[in-house]
Each structure stands twice: as structure tokens, then as C-alpha cells.
Amino acid sequence: MSRLRLPASMESFGLFRSFVLEELERTGELDDLVPKVDLVLEEVLVNAIHYAYPGAHGELEVECLSESPGKFRVTVKDWGIAFNPLDQAPPDLSSDVSSRQVGGLGIFFVTQMTERLHYEYRDGGNVLTMWFQKNGGN
């Protein structure tokens, strides 16, 4: 299982991304998952970078693994404020520009583009696990 731990800052974003996409590429047969994994990873990391450690420094850890043929798993951990993304209200999806609320789409995309999601607060940190399935719809 490959794993990367870096400071929770936007400077770390590019390396986390290369790490996960190279690991996905290494599996050879999961190339068509790249767009989803790329997007979901950005949403989760950017949220953790912006919100997990308000006014403080902290770290993020990303783990990834090709669990079985066609199945890729990514886990993101932080040790910041407890936050369960599966517990959030759905975003405003109305189509009126003037009244529509800005925001909330990040977590929504995460729920839409993963096959399965699991959240746990464990050992003082948030652990979000995401599964991606080849030909998994969406």
C-alpha cells in the first residue's frame, strides 16, 4: 500500500496528485478512472487544506491501493477538526442564477463519483476512504 504524508498546504497538492495518479497508472488497467479520481481527490484535499486546521498548521496523509482487479481505493487522513462529509446537506442544485447558493458542490461530486465512501473518526483524526470501480457507472 502506497502512502504519502505532507503538510496540509496548497503547495503539497501537486505532489499528492502525482502520487495518486502514478499509482493508478501503475495498475495498468484502470486508466479510465483517472478523470474521476483526479476530481474527487482535488475536492477532498482542497477541503482538508482549507478547513481541517483553521489558523494552524497540520498534515495530510493519502494512501492508495489497487484492491482487486478494477477496484482502486484512496484514503485521506487529517488530524484536524472532526468533520463527516457524508453528513452534509445536499447542495442547492436549482437553476436560477440569482438565487442559487454558491458552494457545496465539492462534497456532492465526491459522493457522485465514488462507488463507495466510508468516514470514520479514529485515533484523533478524520479518515475518509473512497472506492472507485472500473465501469462503475456515473
Binding site: F13, E42, S95, S98, V102
Partner: protein, 110 residues
């Protein structure tokens, strides 16, 4: 992300290429707000060269859309790649803004 712009009749065409993510979206937003400030009100954003769009990109688009609405302008899009079209579709942005198959159709259509 790269931005190019050109004026054609009433249209102010913005061509966006590369990636529109948390890092680059603020630049798109800032540039569009400046063009609106300078008096442009019919923005047509062509995404033919755009490979990637995250929620940060949509956030900037909505901010620009709201600004244009408030000044009586309009915002439309053309040439979405499949992954970008998917993101537009599930966020309902595809029904919030006019989306055209190609730049040509967008220019003829309005």
C-alpha cells in the same frame, strides 16, 4: 489554464484551455470580472481546450454568472469535453446557463 479572448460582434469570447481547478479558477474569475467592469456583458466561454473542471471552477463560473445577471448581461458556454459536460450536468449548471455544441453554433444561435 490559459485564457484567450476576442471580440466578435456583441460577443466577448473567452477561450479557456488546460485545467480549471482550485489553483487556476480564481484567475478565470478575476479576468472575467475585469472584462465585465470594462463594459463587456455578453460573455461566451468556449471550453474546447478545457480538460478538467472541479467545483472550484464552477464556483467561479457562478460568481461571474451572478455578476452578469446583475448588470443585465449573459453568460453562455460552448464546446464542452465529456468530463466537463458531466460536471456541468450533475451540478445542474447545464440548465442554468446556455450550453452550445460548438463556438460556431453559439455565435449563430443567439
Amino acid at each position: 489554464m490559459e485564457l484567450k479572448n476576442q471580440k466578435q460582434d456583441k460577443f466577448f469570447i473567452v477561450e479557456v484551455s488546460g485545467r480549471m481547478d482550485a489553483i487556476s479558477a480564481p484567475e478565470f474569475e478575476k479576468s472575467c470580472l475585469e472584462w465585465i467592469q470594462q463594459g463587456e456583458s455578453t460573455l461566451l466561454v468556449d471550453l474546447a481546450g478545457l480538460e478538467y473542471m472541479s467545483s472550484a471552477g464552477l464556483r467561479s463560473i457562478l460568481v461571474v454568472g451572478k455578476k452578469l445577471k446583475s448588470v443585465g448581461g449573459s453568460l453562455s458556454f460552448s464546446s464542452l469535453a465529456p468530463t466537463v459536460a458531466h460536471v456541468f450536468s450533475i451540478s445542474n449548471f447545464a440548465s442554468m446557463f446556455p450550453v452550445h455544441e460548438s463556438l460556431e453554433k453559439a455565435l449563430g444561435n443567439s
